[in-house]
Amino acid sequence: MAQIGSIVQFSGHQHLRQRLVLSILSGKHVRIDKIRSEDKNPGLRDFEVSLLRLLEKVTNGTIIEISLTGTAILLKPGIISGGPITHDCPLSRSIGYFLEPIIMLSPFAKKPVHLTLKGITTDEHDLSVDLLRTVTLPHLQLFGISDGLELRIKRRGAAPGGGGEVQFLCPVVKQVKTLNFIEPGKIKRIRGIAHAVRVNPQFSNRMIEAARSILNRYIPDIYLYSDVYKGDESGKSPGYALSLLTESTTSALHCAEAISEPGVAPEDIGLKATRALLAEVNRGGCVDRKHQTLVLLMMVLGSEDVGRCRMGEPTPRTIQFLRDVQSFFGTSFKIVSADTSDPECTHLLYSCYGTGYVNANRTLA
């Protein structure tokens, strides 16, 4: 991870997305080698190549060099251009894999991003389009990115056939606001979306019933919505899932979801999602584990002031992200216990001095 001139170097295929995003935002070139070089099937996977192609579409002037064996890449970022873009995601990863990095880049584009992505809308690896819409996008609002921010789910597409389609609209901002989010508050409402495509539509209700059997004890304000997609809108494969979120009095969001598995009853999927949600709620903090990196990134890009956020322990991904941020931006976070008088306190206070990142692409317009 030595830095030579303005090239940042890494080895290995892991954490590819965050490194590409940080490179494009910082303008620093990135070179990644030893991509599965020891593997019997070496080099980039189809979804990684597809992601690189998508990043080319979202930017202007980006140069990507891939070695003959596919085990090394060099990315020289251009400007984030935005505008209308359409991209077909391969069926090896869901739309979430591609949309997560785009969400990090879009606010800093030259023109508002209007991206259409086609593929799988919900799978077990990446955030589903439901969570991206109801949980990820509201996190951007903390930083003053809100007007015109939208994710439309046009069609659903379950694995393996896909056939889903979403539209992501993101406004451009000049600068993001400094975050000061240290009060987790108390949970005031629970929301959820159940969907079932190409299976008995009653499956949604059965998941909802199961979730309610646990959640009803806590608060009355629970609304679990059964989202129905029919015919062509329901994609090519059967599948169903339940996505849940809690919202606190200070607008802290925690989420979880579970998706259909062969031979498992919808009730059990509903219970699984609910228990995963409770585990997440129990970890507490102002931001859940799935959104740590997004929030930390926006804190780094914030105006030249100290941003603070209270969260649980960093995930392995977050730890690497913090290190990568330092490689690209030179910014390091101060991470201390949120309550130093309580040795049992698992919450941490993350603070950093924003880089005062200004969207230079926008001023060119």
């Binding site: 954490h15 599965r36 699984k272 960093p314 392995p316 991904r317 730890i319 991470i335 216990s337």
Partner: protein
């Protein structure tokens, strides 16, 4: 001696662990599984550390959702466990330890 050090459960110095050591994320989170290394002192004098290749699984996916462990979910079948987080909801009154 091992028990004593783990019982202390001292708060981790996250800033130092993340930025000033070459420990992997797993080692930071779950403690180091170091074989026969008298004590874990990361002083400047410790010149080199053998880079471990663990966690470099070729098919480890870059994904944002962590797979939830069965054990973790199993815990929530217990009535006491369900009650233990009631204070996190607006209807739940104050926390048990005045959190």
């Amino acid at each position: 001696a091992e028990a004593a050090s783990s019982r202390k459960a001292r708060q981790k110095d996250w800033t130092k662990l993340i930025y000033s050591t070459s420990l992997t994320a797993e080692e930071i989170l779950h403690g180091e599984k170091q074989e026969q290394k008298s004590d874990v002192e990361m002083d400047e004098d410790d010149l080199f550390q053998v880079k471990k290749t663990t966690g470099d699984d070729a098919e480890a996916l870059d994904m944002s959702k962590e797979s939830v462990e069965k054990e973790e979910l199993k815990k929530w079948e217990d009535e006491d466990m369900l009650e233990s987080i009631r204070h996190l909801f607006i209807t739940g009154g104050d926390g048990p330890l005045g959190e």
